[in-house]
C-alpha cells in the first residue's frame, strides 16, 4: 500500500507540539483518525455513505507516520486522490484540532496547506506613525519660527547701539590675529564665569 496511487502518507510530531502533555499513539487514536477522514469524505457531495471501515491504515511507525487510503463502499477500488485531497483541505482545521496539532505537526505529505490570506489593512501602521511624527515636527518648526519673529520684533524696539561699539572694539583686535584674551579682561560681562575653574593660572602677557 505505501506509494500506491491514491494513498497518502501522514506524519505526526506529537511531542514537538505538546511537549510533556503528549499522548501516546495507539489504536484508539488511529480509530479517531479514521473517523475524521470518514467525516471529511462524508462532506463531499456524492460520498455521504463513507464509513470508518472504508479508511485503511498501514505501515504505522514509531515516528509517528503511516499511510492511508479510502476505499469505496464496494471495497473494490480506492477513491481518487484528488477527491480525498480536497476533502482533507476543506476540513483541515477540524482534523488538526481533534488531535491538538497544527499544519506543521500533522503533515499530510502531498497535500499542501492553504496559507492564510494576506491581511491588507486599509492604512499601514507605518503611515499612521509617520503622519503623527511629521505633524508634530511641522508644528514645532512653526512655533519656533513664530517665536523667533516675535523675539526679533521685541528686540528691534529696544536700543542696541551701545552693544555694537563694544563689539567693534573686540572685533578690531581679533582682526589683527591678536589674542583676544587681554582686552576681555577690561570689558566686564564677556567672561562666562561658569567656565572659570580654580586651577587655571594665567601667564602674564
Amino acid at each position: 500500500m505505501p506509494d500506491a496511487e491514491n494513498a497518502f502518507k501522514v506524519r505526526l510530531s506529537i511531542r514537538t507540539a505538546l511537549g510533556d502533555k503528549a499522548y501516546a499513539w495507539d489504536t484508539n487514536e488511529e480509530y479517531l483518525f479514521k473517523a475524521m477522514v470518514a467525516f471529511s469524505m462524508r462532506k463531499v457531495p456524492n460520498r455521504e455513505t463513507t464509513e470508518i471501515s472504508h479508511v485503511l491504515l498501514c505501515n504505522v511507525t514509531q515516528r509517528v507516520s503511516f499511510w492511508f487510503v479510502v476505499t469505496d463502499p464496494s471495497k473494490n477500488h480506492t477513491l481518487p486522490a484528488v477527491e480525498i485531497q480536497s476533502a482533507i483541505r476543506m476540513n483541515r482545521n477540524r482534523i488538526n484540532s481533534a488531535f491538538f496539532l497544527n499544519d506543521q505537526t500533522l503533515e499530510f505529505l502531498k497535500i499542501p496547506s492553504t496559507l492564510a490570506p494576506p491581511t491588507d489593512p486599509t492604512m499601514p501602521i507605518w503611515m499612521i506613525i509617520f503622519s503623527v511624527i511629521f505633524c508634530i515636527v511641522i508644528v514645532a518648526v512653526m512655533l519656533l519660527i513664530f517665536s523667533g519673529i516675535r523675539q526679533r520684533r521685541r528686540k528691534s524696539k529696544g536700543p542696541s547701539e551701545v552693544d555694537d561699539t563694544e563689539d567693534k572694539c573686540e572685533n578690531m583686535i581679533t582682526i589683527e590675529n591678536g589674542i583676544p584674551c587681554d582686552p576681555l579682561d577690561t570689558k566686564g560681562g564677556h567672561i562666562n564665569d561658569v567656565f572659570m575653574t580654580e586651577d587655571e593660572r594665567l601667564t602674564p602677557l
Binding site: P118, L184, R201, L205
Partner: protein
Amino acid sequence: MAWAGGAEPHGDGRGDKRPAWDNKGQYLLSCLGFAVGLGNIWRFPYLCQTHGGGAFLIPYLIALVLEGIPVFYIELAIGQCLRRGSIGVWTAVSPYLGGVGLGCLTVSFLVSLYYNTVLSWVLWYLLNSFQDPLPWSSCPLDINRTGAFEAECQASSTVSYFWYRQTLNITADISDNGSIQWRLLACLAASWAVVYLCVIRGIETTGKAIYFTALFPYLVLTIFLIRGLTLPGAVRGLIYLFTPNVQTLRNPRVWLDAATQIFFSLSLAFGGHIAFASYNPPRNNCEKDAVTVALVNSLTSLYASIAVFSVLGFKAANDHGRCLDRNLLRLLNAFDLPDQSISRDDYAAVLAHLNATQPESVARLPLEVCQLEDFLDKSASGTGLAFVVFTEAVLHMPGAPGWAVLFFGMLFTLGLSSMFGNLEGIITPLLDLGVLRRSVPKEVLTGLVCLLCFLSATCFALQSGSYWLQVFDSYAAPLNLIIFAFFEVVGIAYVYGMPRFSDDIACMTGRRPGLYWRVTWKVVSPLLLLTIFVAYIAVLAWTPLSYRAWDPQYAWFPSRQEKSYPGWVQATCVLLCFLPALWVPAVALVQQLAKRRQKQDTWQDGCPKLQEGGAS
C-alpha cells in the same frame, strides 16, 4: 589684510554678539555626539572581528594617541581661539590656506547628503517596528495567490527580502536608475524636517536637543548589553570574537584600517568641531576637552562592540541550533525514529551510528554542515549589519518589536547628533562669511541649507540609490579629509607658528603645550597623515572599482554579484575623491594672482605702500 572672498571681519557677520553655549555640558555633549556616530556601532565591531579580535585594539590605541587626539586638539584650540567657523579660521591663519575651509565645507555638505539618507532608512525601519509580528519576519504571498510565497523571498531570506525589495526596491545595476521610491522620499523629507527642527536656530536649539540625542544611545546600549549578555550563546560569541590573534598585526592593511577608523570616528577635518569650539568663551581648557571626548568616543566604540558581539553570538548560536534541528528532522523522517528522540547533543553520535549501519540512506539525505564557528565568522558591517543581521537577531528575541524600536531609535539619535555637527560645519562658516544680509534671520539660512540638501539627496531615493550611496561613502570623504587634516596640522605647526600657537593655548588653558603635543604636531602627525594618504591611494589604485549588486536573476542568487562600475561612474568616483581638495590650490592661486595684481597696481601708482601681507 587681504580676506579671501570678502569675508566680513565681525564675529558672526551680523553685529550681534556671537552665540554661546548655555553651559559646558552642552558643548561637550555636542562634540561627543558628533564624534560618536553610526560608525561606532557598525564599523568598529566589524574591524575588530576581521582584524584579530582584541589584537586590533593595539593599532587602534596607537593611532588614537599619535594622530587622533593631536589633530582633535588643534581643531578645538584654533576654533576657540579665533572664534570663527572653518573658512574664517583658515583664512585667518593664512589667506593661502582659505581653501581648506572651503574644502571642509564641501565635504561636510556631501557627507550630510548621504548620511541623512541612511537616517531616513533607519526611520523607515523604526516606523515599521511598531507592529507584531514584525514585517520582516515572514515572506509575503505571491501576487498570483497560487499558495506559494514570493520566489525572491524564498530564495534569499525574509530580512534580506524586506531590505532589498520592500525598502529599497533595488535594481540590478547602478546604471539602471528605476523610479523614485515615494516611501523613502517621505522618510527623507521627515528626517530633514527633524534635522531642521533641531538646527533651526543654530546651537541655541541643538544645545537643547543634544541632551536627548547624545545620551539616549548610551541608555539603549546599556539595555542591549544587559539583555545581550543574558541571551544563550552570547558569552561564547564574545569570547570567540574578542580572542586576540596577534598574527593579523603583521598585515599592514590592519594598521591602515586602524588609522583611518580613528580618523573618521572622531569626525576630524569636517569643520564641525571648529564650529562648536568657536562658540566657547576664550578661557576654556580645550586640552582637557579634547582628551576627554576622544577617550569617551573610543570607550563608546568598545562598549558598543561588546553589546553588538553578544547579540551576534546569540544569533550564531541560534542559527547553529536551527541548522542542527533541520538535520535532526531529516534523520527522524528518513529513518522513522520517534519524534524528539534525538537531542542536539546526541546528533553526532547518532549520525555516526547510522552512517556505520546504513551509509547509502544517509548519503542520500541533504544534510547540512553545522559548525558554530562558521556562523560566528559571518561578519557584516554598515547597513548589512543593521538592516539584515541585527534585524534577524532581534526576531528571535522575546518581545521583538520592543527591541527593534529601541535599536532603531538608538541608531536614529546617534546619526542625528552627528548630523548636527555636519550642519554646523556648513552653517557656521556661511554665517561668518555673511552670505545673507543682516536683516535676514538665521532660521532662513538653516532652512535654505536643509532644503538644498534635501533636494540634492532625492537622487538617493531612486531604486539605484543605495549603490550611489556606497559610491559617496567610499570616495567622497576619506581622501579629502586626510588632505585637509594634513594641511590643518602643517598650517598650525609651521604657517601659524608653534610659538604663537603655544602663546594662544597658554592664554586659553593656563599653560603652554607640553613636549608630547609639540612633537606630535610638528613631526608625528603630519608624517602619519602623509603615510596614510599614500597608502590609501595605493589601495584605491590597486583594488578594482566594483560593487556587489542584488540581482534575483543571478545564477548564484542570493549571493550578490560583483560588478564593475561603468566608465562614467568611475569618473564620478575619481572626481569625488579629489574635487573638494582642489579648493586648496585654487584659493592659493587666486590669492597669489590677487597679490601680484596689487603689487602691479602699487608699482604703477608710483607710491610705496606698506605691504599688506598675510598672516605668514
